[in-house]
């Protein structure tokens, strides 16, 4: 059924469809305006450059009724975070002007740096709904600068954990709580600015939502939200029903967990049963010691992310769209960490692999909609120290774009942030103006896109040198740097290129691995290495997998790749059979 037919058939049984569309667009645009407020008022590059936050609307029962183009992982986790918060605190505990803060990974969160702020919206003295903002604070204490401890073995090392608490009561800051939080973060001024940017975005959303309720009536907008959720549910059910019934399985691996140098197994069974989908992660490894465990919010978010990639993108994204999708994630496994297991890397390294696994499982029956695996590493690079020019302490969380998988109809995207985030690239100028890191090279890596009839996207190389008079404490959490753990191809497509994080100490002539230079357990995951003036660090993001036989690639496309330096002449000859 075409989307247009479905729209006409499905949406017209209650409120006028045009009006319903207007209400839905209002919900989406309120979220977008929250986002603009965030980027313009936050202190940290992770927000105003990286866009690592998400803005969402909920009804009074905790159903998501609106979202915009933010981070899929945070959007999905917000479903659980807001419902948890409302259930745990009790719906009657909310008063006008309150803001609840929450970053607990065991209460629906994606990982501990992600801080949610939630504000109730009252209309005519009645609770109508909630507005929420989920944002990744760049520094929240814990053992590693930048709060991304790649060798953490329990949550207490990952940062300050906060269950749902009121940070603002009736529009008055709870300053005792603020002081407690800021005393445990390394860059408290940024915490103050960034959390207030999040809270400010809630006030903007509340104002806009109240305008909408005044204009159309609270009862009417509630009814519209209900109808929109039912509409999304019907549409999603129709999409799922179009997939052949059956159970489809997939297995993938992570190279290590940062603490124990052994591969970690992930397994999924996707069952299509009429108009419902059941995604079962039974068979995955038991919870591991290192921080690549996924929370329930992460695993669920990955499933929703995958499903939204292979279904009609026009489905309004609200709780209704999620109803036909069921997730089983056994507690105590890498897909559902239990207290006090660590999980900071589960949101960045595990989530994208889980997304690819769900689409990989469905590939035999949805080949025109799926892609080969992406680089699937956020290439998390954390650094901090005292800036030699200002004397101020700084800390930053940086992520790199990697290559995405090729599809049956196109090459994969180059240098794109992992599928769990819609985050933006941090410009070279930010490193050089705010931090003592000079960029030596920033380039696409030739031959890093998995070969195929359609080629995987390319990863990037970034080399940075520690500036004069500076010391930088660095941590990293990468994956796909060795062995058989590269981004897999489909239908004869080859794997993408390796990722890497290497160091060249001042005076050395070549880059080497961190185990070679500093004796870390993992080459891709380590914490708190001190880099000194003149040391250089190389961040290589992995490439995406290819789709189809490389020998079938269009010859003009191979020639263009060679001319642009995307594929080397040697690879063109040896892998693509090119004789140009």
């Amino acid at each position: 059924m075409a989307a247009q037919d479905r729209t006409a058939e499905g949406i017209g049984d209650g409120i006028d469809p045009v009006l319903l569309g207007i209400i839905n667009n209002n919900f989406v645009n309120i979220c977008r305006e929250m986002g603009i407020t965030m980027t313009r008022t936050a202190f940290s590059p992770i927000f105003n450059e990286g866009l690592d936050f998400s803005c969402v609307l909920f009804d009074r029962h905790g159903n998501m009724i609106g979202q915009a183009e933010f981070c899929p992982a945070q959007l999905a986790a917000s479903l659980f975070i807001v419902r948890w918060t409302v259930e745990e605190l009790g719906v009657d505990s909310f008063e006008p002007g309150d803001v609840v803060l929450h970053n607990d990974p065991y209460r629906g969160g994606a990982h501990i740096p992600e801080h949610s702020v939630i504000r109730p919206v009252f209309h005519g003295g009645e609770l109508w709904g909630f507005v929420a903002n989920v944002g990744h604070l760049a520094e929240i204490g814990g053992k590693a600068v930048g709060s991304f401890a790649a060798d953490a073995t329990e949550v207490f090392q990952e940062g300050l954990r906060i269950p749902p608490v009121k940070i603002v009561s009736r529009d008055e800051n709870n300053l005792d709580l603020w002081r407690l939080i800021m005393a445990n973060h390394r860059t408290p001024r940024n915490t103050w600015g960034d959390l207030n940017a999040q809270i400010g975005s809630l006030r903007v959303a509340e104002r806009r939502l109240l305008e909408l309720l005044d204009r159309y009536g609270a009862e009417f907008v509630s009814q519209a939200a209900e109808e929109l959720m039912d509409y999304s549910e019907r549409w999603m059910r129709a999409e799922i029903a179009a997939i052949p019934d059956g159970s489809y399985e997939f297995t993938d691996w992570m190279e290590d967990d940062g603490v124990v140098d052994e591969p970690v197994k992930f397994h999924v069974t996707v069952t299509i049963d009429g108009d419902r989908m059941i995604v079962d992660w039974t068979g995955s490894s038991p919870q591991v010691r290192g921080p690549i465990n996924a929370t329930y919010g992460v695993t669920s978010g990955a499933v929703y992310n995958a499903v939204f990639h292979v279904t009609d993108s026009s489905i309004p994204k609200n709780s209704g769209a999620y109803r036909p999708i069921h997730i089983i994630a056994p507690p105590g496994t890498v897909t559902n960490v239990v207290y006090p297991g660590p999980s900071v890397g589960g949101n960045t390294e595990t989530h994208p692999k889980l997304v690819d696994m769900v689409t990989g499982a469905l590939a035999p029956v949805m080949r025109d909609r799926v892609a080969a695996a992406e680089g699937a590493s956020a290439c998390n690079f954390l650094f901090g120290g005292v800036h030699p020019k200002t004397g101020d302490y700084y800390a930053n969380y940086h992520l790199e774009g990697c290559g995405w998988g090729a599809k049956d109809y196109d090459d994969g995207n180059d240098c794109t942030i992992v599928v769990n985030g819609n985050c933006r690239n941090t410009p070279v100028e930010i490193f050089e103006t705010r931090y003592p890191l000079e960029t030596v090279e920033y380039s696409l890596i030739a031959d890093s896109g998995g070969a195929g009839r359609h080629r995987g996207g390319l990863g990037t190389r970034r080399i940075m040198r520690v500036g004069a008079g500076a010391e930088v404490t660095a941590s990293a959490l990468f994956d796909r740097t060795k062995g058989e753990f590269r981004a897999w191809g489909l239908e004869g497509g080859l794997p993408g290129g390796y990722g890497a994080i290497l160091v060249k100490r001042n005076g050395d002539t070549e880059f080497r691995t961190f185990p070679e230079v500093y004796g870390t357990v993992s080459a891709s995951k380590f914490t708190n290495i001190l880099l000194k003036e003149g040391d250089e660090i190389m961040l290589d993001a992995p490439g995406g997998g290819g789709f189809g036989d490389p020998l079938e690639r269009d010859r003009d496309a191979v020639a263009r790749d060679v001319a642009e330096g995307i594929v080397s002449p040697e690879a063109a000859r040896d892998v693509y059979g090119w004789d140009g």
Binding site: I278, A329, Y339
Partner: protein, 68 residues
């Protein structure tokens, strides 16, 4: 689909970290569990929706696995 069941509150002390997962989906439950008997065994679910999923998917799947 739901048979006789009841909601049971999760009682915690202030120092407790809540770690009660649903017997079906695995997610941690905040305040109350849906307690119900399935095939002579007591189960604790996050919702009646998970009871239905358990009865219509997990149980038949386990039976099929045992049969093979």
């Amino acid at each position: 689909m739901t048979t006789v069941g009841h909601w049971e509150p999760i009682v915690t002390q202030i120092w407790d970290t809540v770690i009660t997962p649903c017997d079906c989906c695995g997610q941690v439950v905040a305040k109350r569990l849906w307690v119900v008997d399935v095939d002579g065994e007591e189960h604790r679910f996050c919702s009646t929706r998970c009871e239905e999923l358990y009865r219509t998917h997990v149980v038949p799947q386990r039976r099929a696995e045992t049969a093979t």
